[in-house]
Subunit: 356 residues, 2 copies
């Protein structure tokens, strides 16, 4: 016997590398290339540190209300957590306490099975089609819950509002969790379905489209009943998850709609141009509605290309995982960064041709 | 069947009321009456919001190293979490996965049994003596872990380094978690025992003695092995729990030792003076080594006094709980605030005498 016998064994998630090379082009963790709204800078400059001696609002009250107004929901339909990973984690713990399996696509955010391992939630991976498309019919079976990222990661592909509605209609006895971390880049949010379904929970984040990865703000929207259960869970885990400054920063970002729309549409334009160039170079590219693309070249081994890019100080993401080991995920940076990537790929492919 | 059947039921913690009265004297949640170090103000003013588009360091690398240096430990002996509540929560989940009961004092931080409920950890409350003192012998029995707040909350009473060593020596097959949230106000930290015991985990916080309740920084210290397990757990729950600004603020606070010592010693002086005055008024007062006092008046019902104080806009804390329902916990504020409390109590007791 030893204290080690009482440890709970887990298989932790491995986050994308935070490489620290100088002059690198960092396209591996889907960070936004543009700074947050100037309102954020202002709110930080104006912040009086005296306030920090006091506890923050336990439910980020002002921000919660602002988010409700923004999305035309009631305040009690909004939950705020310490980044969307925490929101997902607490949601899994709250809603998926069943002996029936949680259903999820076989290719999706790799944190989902880790939460399942942590909380002993049985789960079943539902294979996507060969083209990574999702068939809603495969979710019409007994389950203890459903989690789908829409748009999906790392494929970037989205499903329609109607498809989500079909899943909800056929699963009214389970929570259907739709992870909309990337929704602002072109997908269609299913928030309007909250009017019809009390078993829908939608998770979003401030980090990608609002350039606030550094501040950790994640959100869940749902029926007042579901959200109340999520708060009960949060209050069993940590009373004050969101610090005072983060709350203010979230409010400031939410108030600057013009900047938000502008920076999101810049990224979408860059993505579409980047996609066209990739296709010209012979890449296969999924129809991404996110701030990244998922790409494959029939003539190039993905691991080899990943390494070549890395040596050129262009950091992208690759998974040594069945079905996607031939693919790379590339975050959309600035036009300039993406042009550098295209120039590199042109050279790389040209040299490769020569060596045949 | 409905989705409600799959909910995990919990009994959430209820935090001290964040009353929003004007001109109130808020002495109910142990917040520090003094602002944080001026270095904190400076680091906020100098912070460039552009940095927020990037993820924070997953383990608050720089702050982690600074804390290790500060406490003469190795970096791998330091864990940083989103407030000490999160650190405690993850520690319970990591270390107390046994069928034998976790031992804790019957009167202690009321979040402990809530974590146990959440994670299905069996626990056994060990009664403190009538004077709220802790007998180490009662912890020499089979267990799946031990958690003791030192100084204890809400009694404020501390145990000695030697007593903790005895507990460790007799429980080498369990993690002994010492919660030192209030240690800076006069208790003796057991960090030096880390040299001898790999089953000791010590939790501290930035919020009380460093006036940073608003920023959410909690810390665990332990053997490199124990801390590695805690990080595995954290990485199964949330990759990036500490935002970039909080990391910088923590560093700034840690660097200003002079201010830290000064504000802590001011609070200790105020506490000792306040205690003397209370004793003069006939109160029974525990030997608190914290930034609060725990008091009882033989002639006054605690609930009645709590309400009278509340009406005078002096907010303190009371628990309707066996053994302590006759007691009030009063946070140490400024000298001026504590004088106001004493003046109120003098009047109150005088009027009470009259009404006999």
């Amino acid at each position: 016997m030893s204290w080690q016998n009482n440890l709970r064994s887990v298989s932790p998630y491995i986050a994308g590398e935070q490489a620290e090379l100088t002059d690198m082009i960092k396209l591996n963790t889907n960070e936004n290339p543009y700074p947050p709204s100037l309102q954020v800078q202002k709110v930080i400059e104006d912040f009086k540190s005296d306030n920090l001696r006091l506890y923050p609002s336990t439910d980020a009250k002002v921000l919660r209300k602002a988010l409700a107004t923004y999305h035309h929901l009631n305040t009690d339909q909004v939950f705020i957590g310490n980044g969307s990973d925490e929101v997902l984690s607490l949601s899994f713990l709250t809603f998926f306490n069943s002996e029936k399996p949680l259903l999820m696509p076989d290719i999706s955010y790799s944190f989902y099975p880790i939460y399942c391992g942590l909380y002993h939630i049985p789960y079943q991976k539902i294979p996507l089609a060969d083209d990574f498309s999702l068939s809603v019919n495969s979710y019409f079976q007994e389950n203890g819950g459903i989690v789908i990222a829409n748009p999906n990661a790392p494929t970037g592909m989205a499903i329609s509002l109607q498809e989500i509605e079909e899943i909800l209609q056929n699963n009214q006895d389970s929570i259907v969790l739709i992870d909309e971390a990337y929704i602002d880049f072109g997908g269609e949010s299913c928030l309007p379905l909250l009017e019809k379904f009390d078993n829908l929970v939608v998770v979003q984040t401030f980090f990608k489209s609002r350039s606030l990865a550094g501040i950790r703000l994640g959100v869940a929207f749902g029926s007042a009943e579901a959200i109340a259960h999520l708060y009960d869970m949060k209050n069993s885990f940590n009373s004050y998850p969101i610090d005072s400054l983060a709350q203010k920063i979230g409010e400031a970002s939410l108030n600057d709609e013009t900047y938000f729309q502008k920076s999101v549409s810049k990224i979408i334009t860059t993505r579409e141009n980047f996609k066209k160039e990739l296709i010209k170079l012979g890449f296969q590219v999924t129809d991404s509605k996110t701030n990244f693309v998922f790409v494959h070249h029939p003539k190039v081994d993905a691991t080899t290309l990943f390494k070549a890019l890395y040596e050129a100080k262009i950091i992208v993401r690759h998974w040594n995982q069945a079905r996607i080991s031939d693919w790379l995920r590339i975050t959309i940076g600035t036009d300039r960064e993406m042009n550098t990537v295209i120039q590199f790929l042109k050279e790389y492919l040209k040299n490769k041709e020569k060596s045949y």
